[in-house]
Amino acid sequence: MVGTCTAHWTLVTRGMAFIVGFLLLLGVGMGSAAEAPSEILIGATLPLSGRFTPMAGTFDRLCQSWAKLVNSRGGLYVKAYDKKLPVKFIIYDDKSEPAESAKFYERLVTVDKVHLLLGPFSSHITKAAVTVADKYKIPMVMAEANDATIFEQRYKYSVNQVDLADTESYGYLDLLHTEGQVKSIGFIAEDTLHSTGALRGGAKKARELGLKVVAEEIAPPDTKDFTAILLKLKQADPDVVYVEAFPGFEIPFMKQAYELGLKPREFFNGHIVDAVLKTLGPRAEGLTGVVYWAPGLPYSGADEFAAVLKDAGVDWARQMESSIHFQSFQVIQQAIEQAGSLDPEVLNKALHEATFRTLSGDIVHSEAGLGNTRSYPVQVQGGALKLIGPKELAVAPHMYPSVK
């Protein structure tokens, strides 16, 4: 009897344990299903109107094309849910205004409830927008923002891809130093965060390398007449004239430099985009500049980048910052896959600790979120941009002097 009773209770206990265990498993499973979002939401603002539109007005298409590519493969794998989730972008027009951008990032976090933020275009706008990431503790993967003043704030929830604007000229200046032909350089920049940062860093580096810096001119971005600056540069007679500005400034400067007979041994343009080359015509031959990616670099994702550009109808030669935007996509993808979670803290940890393989090389973020992608010097040779440094990656030698 006791044996029967014991056997009975054993059966009941086992049965109950089985049911409890089953329910627990079911509960966990149901809990996971309930928690798994239907898609990964990434929020961003872009200059779909306003003064930055020429540089990044088509990047919304770039975002959608990358999402399309990722989703065609089932989405991004998130280990916490053990499944792939599709990616969806929510993008607002910041009108190229910092305040507008910050307002929309607030909305993306509080109303749209995005999982991750993709930064806006330029240091100028990012400086305002990035504060939202820290305020709500939602990670932001910045794109084309590399002014030192952003990283001096030591924000905890944002990372970028490219090194400081101050280092933008380093690759080119190192090349000049190695060759040893250039003795003097004159800098001119438009008065924007990025360009003045590049001028500041470039002039400092040039002095360290033993070059004589004969001019450091800064002019408002809407300057159209450069007679005064050109006259000063003519008097200083530098070997290299280094122009760091956007095309709306570079084009009239270069046109007037030729018109007024400024003849250095070489011209350098910070944004050596298609519009600049087209406007300068045959005179663009020999012009030097820097890029953050160029065809032929032996790193990860160039084919995908080409596919996304094609699908989006974006021309890299016209909008070269598209490569930095794509790097941000690569960082987002790898961060989510490595974190295995959409939890902001886990994602942020991955963004700050992992190494990311991108089309411009591996990226490691500093504690302040600063990336380490450096620029590559290029030169117009035979009408096309050729990588002229560093030595191990160069596809053509640096032609100097290059002004005929």
Binding site: S49, G50, R51, T53, P54, M55, G57, D191, E217, I218, A219, P220, D222, T223, K224, D225, T227, A228, I229, L231, K232, Q235, F246, P247, G248, I251, P252, K255, Q256, Y258, E259, L260, G261, A275, V276, K278, T279, L280, G281, P282, R283, R318, Q319
Partner: protein, 292 residues
């Protein structure tokens, strides 16, 4: 000394470019009493059409003027007939409000349409002429600017002849001086307004061609340019065509000398300070008529 001479030459050439567009703005204001805030957009459109002709068909910018002149004259006529006519007929405060709203609205529309249809990126045209070098290289004169200035002087003389020798010119000046008086002596003021708008818009488009040759364009250049041209015609005297020419040259010289002697950042500040001083001394501008 040679630096100052170089600056003077560059300032005059720059002022000449300013003057051409300001001339059209002054003409429309003088005849219709309307501040056309879309004037800079017509300049941008003129430059854009020139760019498209040059870029896709290889048309020389100066040859493109032959297409642009009748095209934008017609556009100006349409602009007056479609939008400005009802504003011109209003008076006082109502007219000012309506003209600002209508022309500003048009300005924004043109900017958006241009951006959607032709993209927002910077556009420039390659056009090169060897510079003129004087004094063993110490003075360099831009041939493109000199050519532009030559064209502008030619156009100015032509318009001057038209204003002084033809019935239309005399009628236009009469309307500029006193619209009601002109109407009383039998001048068809509506017809004059129509032609003045056509002429003013045509001059803006022509200035756009020279602008494209010297600088680069994008859809948002219009409104800031309109404000600059507005300063020129206020400086020269509202309604005075000769004043707009002198105002343009003064502004060009001021900007160039300030950029060299002080800093490029001070160019606009000094230009506006000068405008304030002139208006304090002569509220009607340099060549404007004082209100009785």
């Amino acid at each position: 000394m040679t630096a100052l001479l170089q600056l003077f030459i560059s300032g005059v050439l720059l002022g000449g470019i300013y003057a051409l567009a300001a001339f059209g703005l002054a003409l429309i204001f003088g005849v219709c009493n309307i501040l056309n805030l879309a004037h800079g957009e017509f300049l941008m459109l003129g430059a854009l059409v020139c760019f498209l002709l040059g870029d896709s068909l290889g048309v020389d910018p100066f040859a493109a003027l032959l297409v642009l002149m009748p095209l934008f004259f017609g556009l100006g006529v349409l602009f007056e007939r479609g939008l400005l006519r009802s504003v011109v007929e209003k008076t006082g405060h109502e007219q000012l409000t309506a003209s600002v709203l209508v022309t500003l609205g048009l300005s924004l529309c043109i900017e958006d349409v241009a951006r959607v249809l032709w993209g927002g990126e910077e556009k420039g045209l390659y056009y090169s002429l060897p510079p003129i070098i004087l004094g063993q290289g110490s003075i360099v004169i831009s041939s493109v600017r000199l050519l532009a200035l030559g064209c502008i002087v030619g156009i100015t003389l032509l318009v001057h002849q038209c204003l002084t020798r033809t019935y239309f010119g005399k009628a236009l000046r009469a309307v500029t001086q006193n619209r009601r008086g002109a109407l009383l002596v039998g001048i068809n003021t509506a017809h004059v307004s129509l032609l003045a708008c056509g002429l003013g818009t045509m001059l803006a488009a022509m200035a756009g061609v020279f602008y494209l040759l010297l600088y680069s364009i994008n859809p948002s250049i219009g409104l800031p340019l309109t404000l600059r041209y507005l300063c020129i015609i206020v400086l020269g005297g509202l309604g005075s065509l000769f004043g707009s020419l002198v105002g343009g040259v003064i502004l060009g010289l001021t900007e160039v000398f300030t950029g060299y002697l002080l800093n490029p950042h001070w160019q606009e500040t000094v230009a506006f300070l000068m405008l304030v001083v002139v208006l304090l001394v002569r509220p009607q501008g340099l060549f404007g008529r004082a209100q009785p």
